[in-house]
C-alpha cells in the first residue's frame, strides 16, 4: 500500500528532515508513527500526499511510484489518501453536512452519491444527529470526527492522520482512536503520527519510530518507547 525506499528529504536551509528511510505498510495495517518533535513524522505524511517531493529515493502509494506521477494526476492520488490533522481544518461558515459534502463535491461526485454517502459517513463517526450544526458549536472531539468523515467520505483505501488527537483530552482522544480502529477494521489502511504514549501503548499495533529523520525502530506489535 505504502512503500518508502531509501527516501531522504532535505529542506532548504538545508535541514535534513529524513535520511534513507525505508519501510513498507501493507493493505489493512494500522501503523503508528512516533518520535520526538522534529523527527520527520509530518514530512513522511506530506510526502505520501505529494505535498512535498523526496530529495532522494522512491515512494510507492497503491503500487504507483510517486516520482512518475504527473501534476494532473496528483488530485487523483489525494482521493486515494484521506488526511486529517491536529487542527481539524474545517470550514467555519459551513455546516457539518456541508463540510463533509464539500469533499465529494470537489471530487465531482453525483448529487445522488453525495446524498447517500454523507449521512452514511456521519453515522460512521457518530455525528448523524449534528449534520446541520456549525463547527464552532462542536467539541474538539466532534470537530475531529467531522474532519475524519470528510477524509473518509470519498472512500479512500488509505487514511493518514497527523497527530489527530493532539488537541484532545485523553478521553476524547480515545474515542477518536476507537473510530479509527473501526475504520481500519473495515479495510482502510491507516498511518497515524502521534505523541500520545498512552494510546500507542494501549492499542498495541505496529509502531515505526523515527529520530532525527532516521527509522530507529519498527515493531510489528509495539509500544511508544523501547520496551525494557
Amino acid at each position: 500500500m505504502i512503500e518508502f525506499l531509501g527516501v531522504s528529504k532535505v529542506y532548504p536551509g538545508p535541514v535534513e528532515a529524513l535520511r534513507n528511510v525505508t519501510f513498507r505498510i501493507d493493505k489493512g495495517e494500522f501503523v503508528f508513527l512516533v518520535g520526538p518533535s522534529g523527527a520527520g513524522k509530518s514530512t513522511i505524511l506530506r510526502l505520501i500526499h505529494r505535498e512535498e517531493r523526496p530529495s532522494q529515493g522512491m515512494i510507492l502509494v497503491n503500487h504507483h511510484p510517486l516520482n512518475k506521477l504527473r501534476r494532473r494526476q496528483v488530485p487523483f492520488l489525494r482521493r486515494q489518501v484521506g488526511m486529517i490533522f491536529q487542527d481539524f481544518r474545517l470550514l467555519p461558515d459551513r455546516t457539518v453536512y456541508d463540510n463533509v459534502a464539500f469533499s465529494l463535491r470537489v471530487q465531482e461526485a453525483s448529487p445522488r452519491e453525495i446524498r447517500r454517502r454523507v449521512p452514511e459517513t456521519l453515522d460512521l463517526v457518530g455525528l448523524g444527529h449534528k449534520a446541520q450544526v456549525f463547527p464552532q458549536h462542536l467539541s474538539g472531539g466532534e470537530q475531529q470526527r467531522v474532519a475524519l468523515a470528510r477524509a473518509l467520505v470519498g472512500r479512500p483505501p488509505i487514511l493518514v492522520a497527523d497527530e489527530p488527537t493532539g488537541n484532545l483530552d485523553p478521553e476524547t482522544a480515545a474515542e477518536v482512536v476507537r473510530i479509527l480502529l473501526e475504520v481500519n477494521r473495515r479495510g482502510t489502511t491507516l498511518l497515524m503520527a502521534t505523541h500520545a504514549k498512552a494510546l500507542v501503548d494501549s492499542v498495541r499495533r505496529r509502531v515505526i519510530a523515527l529520530d532525527h529523520g532516521v527509522v530507529v525502530r519498527d515493531d510489528a506489535v509495539g509500544a511508544y518507547d523501547v520496551e525494557a
Binding site: 494532473r72 488530485p75 489525494r78 482521493r79 488526511m83 481544518r89 464539500f102 463535491r105 470537489v106 465531482e108
Partner: protein, 291 residues
C-alpha cells in the same frame, strides 16, 4: 464535467461576490466606466463614418467651360472624361439649363438680367471613390476647355481625418482604462483567493483538480467584467437613444446611425468586458496554482 460540478463552481463564485461586495462593486464600476468611455468613442466614430460617407456620396467635381467654347469641343471633352479611370458618370449642363433652373428657383430676382446669361456651361463629374476626386480635379484643370474646377473633397478629407483621430484616440484612451479595469478585477480576485485560502487548501487536500480550484475565481472575474460591460452598454445604449431624439428635434438634417447599426459595437463592448474579467482573474490564478 457534470452539471452539478458547474453548479458547485457557480455557487462558490456567487459566495465570493457576496463575501466581498465592496470589492465587487469597485471592479464593476471601473470596468463600467472604462467600457462606457470606449462605447461613447465607438458610437461617435460610427457616426463620423456615417457623415463621411454621406458627404462622400454627394461628392461631385464641377468643371466650368471657358466662355465661347464650341459645342463640339465641349461634347468631346465630356466623352473624353467619361472614359477616365475612376469616373462613374459625367453629365453636361448647358448655361441655358442652369439659368432656367435658377429662374425656377429664384424667379423674379433674375428678371433684371433680361436676355443676358452670365453663366457658363458645365459638366458634373462623379467619381467612384473619394480618393479619385483629387486626380480627377487635377486632370480636369489641365483641360484647355476648362475655366475652373470646384469640388467638396476638403470637407470629406477633414471628416475622414477627424473620424480616424477619434477612433485612434478612443482606442488608446479606452485601452488604458480597460487595463485599469483589468488590474482592479485582477486585484479583486487576488483578494478573493486570499479570503478563500482555507477552501482552496481543503479542495487541494481532498483531491480537487486544478480546473475545479480555479473555476470559481475565473467565473467570478468573468462575471465582474460582464456586469461592468452590461452597465456600460445599457448606459451608452439608453444615452444614445436619448441623444438621437434630441438631435432629430434640433438638428433634423444631421443623419445619425440607427440603433440597429450600433448594436455590433455594443456587443463588442460586452465581449471586451468578458475578456477583461477573464484575463484579470486568469492573471491572479498564476500564483495560486504553484506550490
Amino acid at each position: 464535467m457534470r452539471l452539478s460540478t458547474l453548479g458547485f463552481i457557480a455557487s462558490e463564485a456567487v459566495q465570493n461576490v457576496r463575501r466581498n461586495p465592496v470589492m465587487a462593486m469597485a471592479s464593476i464600476t471601473t470596468a463600467a466606466i472604462s467600457l462606457l468611455i470606449l462605447g461613447v468613442f465607438l458610437l461617435v466614430s460610427v457616426n463620423l463614418n456615417l457623415w463621411t460617407h454621406t458627404v462622400e456620396g454627394q461628392v461631385e467635381v464641377e468643371a466650368f467651360f471657358r466662355p465661347h467654347t464650341p459645342a463640339r469641343a465641349e461634347a468631346a471633352a465630356v466623352s473624353a472624361v467619361r472614359r477616365w479611370r475612376g469616373v462613374q458618370a459625367v453629365s453636361f449642363v448647358s448655361r441655358a439649363q442652369v439659368l432656367r433652373s435658377m429662374r425656377r428657383e429664384y424667379g423674379s430676382v433674375l428678371t433684371a438680367l433680361g436676355n443676358h446669361n452670365p453663366l457658363l456651361d458645365e459638366m458634373n463629374v462623379k467619381v467612384y471613390r473619394p480618393r479619385d476626386v483629387r486626380a480627377a480635379v487635377l486632370r480636369l484643370r489641365r483641360m484647355p476647355a476648362a475655366a475652373h474646377v470646384t469640388y467638396q473633397s476638403r470637407v470629406v478629407e477633414r471628416l475622414f481625418q477627424l473620424g480616424s483621430l477619434v477612433r485612434m484616440g478612443g482606442i488608446v484612451f479606452a485601452a488604458l482604462l480597460a487595463l485599469g479595469a483589468l488590474l482592479v478585477i485582477h486585484n479583486a480576485i487576488r483578494v478573493a483567493i486570499f479570503a478563500r485560502r482555507r477552501e482552496v487548501a481543503i479542495m487541494r487536500l481532498v483531491g480537487a483538480t486544478d480546473g475545479l480550484v480555479r473555476g470559481p475565481f475565473l467565473l467570478e472575474g468573468t462575471l465582474l467584467g460582464l456586469a461592468g460591460a452590461l452597465v456600460a452598454v445599457i448606459v451608452v445604449g439608453v444615452g444614445y437613444h436619448w441623444a438621437m431624439t434630441v438631435v432629430q428635434r434640433s438638428l433634423p438634417f444631421l443623419p445619425l446611425a440607427p440603433i440597429e447599426r450600433v448594436v455590433p459595437d455594443l456587443l463588442e463592448v460586452l465581449g471586451l468586458g468578458v475578456v477583461i474579467g477573464y484575463i484579470g482573474s486568469r492573471l491572479s490564478l498564476r500564483g495560486l496554482m504553484r506550490g
